[in-house]
């Protein structure tokens, strides 16, 4: 899996990304939004860009306790029946260091990756960022993959 670079980011704009606002979790301040941005349709065999955005929408700095020197994040792709077809952090060993990341008012933290669907069908995407308490999760986003 390659990281999604700047060129891919430009290409992603052509795919009409859709933003889904996550449901606030109990551990999350009201001023923190966590969104997943991805196209709602793609073709099998083509890499699909997925962006997770963590934004401080409040007027005060927020301290976030996130795992890893490079922020650890997960993307979970499931079929309609709930079967997980891809999990970014599956079979991965991550260092368990905790990073105190301060988000200034209005600041956004963005992480991204790509997933390539091998079979057409309807999928659900969800972003997860581990913290030292409950992980932050985005709301699920639908994706239709054509042959």
């Amino acid at each position: 899996m390659k990281r999604w670079g700047g060129a891919a980011l430009c290409g992603a704009a052509l795919l009409i990304p859709r933003t889904v606002i996550a449901t606030p979790s109990p551990q999350r301040p009201d001023s923190l939004t966590f969104t997943l941005v991805a196209p709602d349709s793609a073709r099998a065999g083509h890499p699909i860009p997925i962006v997770l955005r963590l934004t401080n929408t409040g007027d005060r700095p927020l301290d976030l306790y996130l795992t890893g020197r490079t922020i650890t994040f997960d993307i979970v792709v499931t079929r309609v029946d709930g079967e997980i077809v891809w999990r970014r952090l599956a079979h991965v060993t991550s260092q368990q260091i905790l990073q105190v990341k301060t988000l200034a008012p209005g600041e956004m933290l963005e992480v991204k990756d790509r997933w390539t669907a091998t079979a057409p069908g309807d999928y659900t995407l969800m972003g997860v960022i581990p913290t030292d308490r409950e992980p932050l999760r985005t709301a699920p986003a639908r994706l239709r993959v054509a042959p």
Partner: protein, 410 residues
């Protein structure tokens, strides 16, 4: 027993007068008075001492109000003063239990205050109490502390020997969590450096230098010594600086014929050593203990003691205590695994996998096996985990000592 303020005592006295007025034995043909005393507070013992002759203490014995009186013939006064309180507890005034007391409450109170004033100057005193359930002055001391010193003090203060009870008890400490400042420093506590948080693996002495070991990646730069400064538990707290990184061997590149894979950098342990700053108290072999494994608690309830070192085999049940997920316990599933570190070109050679909980901030935690009581066998330090937080990876102690040199750990 706490002693309420004058205002509260006055209010309580007024309530007692009301109680006495309502329980004078007369009966009304009208509706019963509202049960204003159903929620009465516990009577003020100082007020009782003034209103009930020979009063020596009040307590509940299996729910029944029970009083000490030096003159048990004064039962009527006790019933009048405590009738309302008894009724609020579902006990009729006539059912109040009266015990023969030897000492009046006023004397016990005076002796308690006199002993308390001086006793704490002596080492090992945990608390001083007017024990109203025993009609005695109670002094609790730490286990092994001198009883004789307390007794001689009490005698000098004019307290009758029979009026004093000296009892051994555990010291009372603040309930701290793994994420708070704790001294002496033990393994499992949170450490802070830069913008990062990790856990202490274990205390050690190396070449006469008092130290603690944590993960190599819990330094400013993983591999190589940069003098990382550590704070426990946060740098923003006063007196939180505890030590400086002094040992963190470099990662070596793979070469043909070496154990390290091609184009990777390797070590046999993700471990570093920091020297304690002068004057920082620590417990060699001490590991913070919480209330139990896999219950999520971070509150420290005791201390494990390292009494040996060793290695685990597949199937062994092992433990870790770290600042994020506390005490977790599980089964060793794989040993001597060459493990790639996500997002890097690092491979940690010959590591151990355990099916047990882990979370960000647990890096550097102690890993150990229980050997009976609070004794444990030190096995290594945790550095990694899977995405689900259900499996941790640790560097075995033999690998750590191979790279950091011989360590005295208990």
């Amino acid at each position: 027993m706490s002693r309420p303020s004058t205002a509260i005592r006055v209010a309580a006295a007024a309530a007692l007068v009301a109680v006495a007025a309502c329980s004078d034995g007369t009966r009304s043909t009208g509706p019963e008075p509202a049960p204003v005393l159903r929620t009465v507070q516990a009577p003020d013992l100082g007020v009782l001492a003034r209103t009930v002759p020979g009063f020596g203490g009040l307590f509940l014995d299996h729910g029944v109000p029970t009083v000490y009186l030096t003159d048990v013939t004064k039962r009527g006064a006790a019933e009048r003063a405590l009738g309302g309180f008894a009724q609020s507890r579902g006990v009729a005034p006539a059912e109040i239990r009266v015990l023969q007391g030897k000492y009046a409450y006023g004397d016990l109170d005076r002796w308690t205050q006199a002993v308390s004033y001086e006793a704490f100057e002596q080492g090992g005193v945990v608390f001083v109490d007017l024990d109203e359930a025993a009609n005695r002055v109670l002094v609790a001391v730490e286990r092994g502390a001198s009883h004789a010193n307390i007794r001689s003090l009490a005698a000098r203060l004019g307290v009758p020997a029979e009026a004093l009870v000296v009892r051994e008890t555990d010291p009372i400490v603040y309930a701290s969590t793994l994420q708070e400042q704790v001294r002496p420093v033990v393994a499992g506590l949170q450490i802070h450096f830069g913008n990062f948080l990790c856990s202490i693996g274990f205390n050690a002495v190396s070449g006469g230098q008092n130290s603690f070991v944590t993960a190599s990646h819990c330094t400013n730069v993983q591999g190589g010594v940069e003098g990382t400064q550590y704070f426990q538990s946060l740098s923003s707290q006063p007196n939180s600086f505890i030590g400086t990184e002094v040992a963190d061997p470099a990662y070596v590149r793979g070469r043909k014929g070496s154990a390290c894979p091609k184009s990777r950098r390797c070590r046999f342990s993700d471990a570093s050593r920091a020297a304690y700053a002068a004057g920082v108290p620590f417990t060699l072999g001490g590991i913070a203990e919480t209330s139990g494994p896999n219950n999520g608690s971070l509150t420290i309830t005791g201390t494990f003691s390292v009494t040996s070192e060793g290695n685990a085999v597949v199937g062994d049940v092992v433990n870790k205590v770290g600042r994020t997920t506390g005490w977790t316990q599980g089964v060793v599933t794989n040993t001597c695994v060459n493990t790639g570190v996500s997002g890097s070109n690092i491979v940690q050679l010959c590591q151990t996998f355990v099916d047990a909980g882990v979370g960000g901030g647990d890096s550097g935690s102690d890993v150990f096996g229980l050997t009976g009581g609070s004794s444990v066998r030190l096995l290594g330090i945790l550095w990694g985990g899977n995405g689900a937080g259900t499996q941790f990876v640790y560097s075995p102690i033999t690998n750590i000592e191979q790279e950091l040199g011989p360590l005295t750990t208990f």
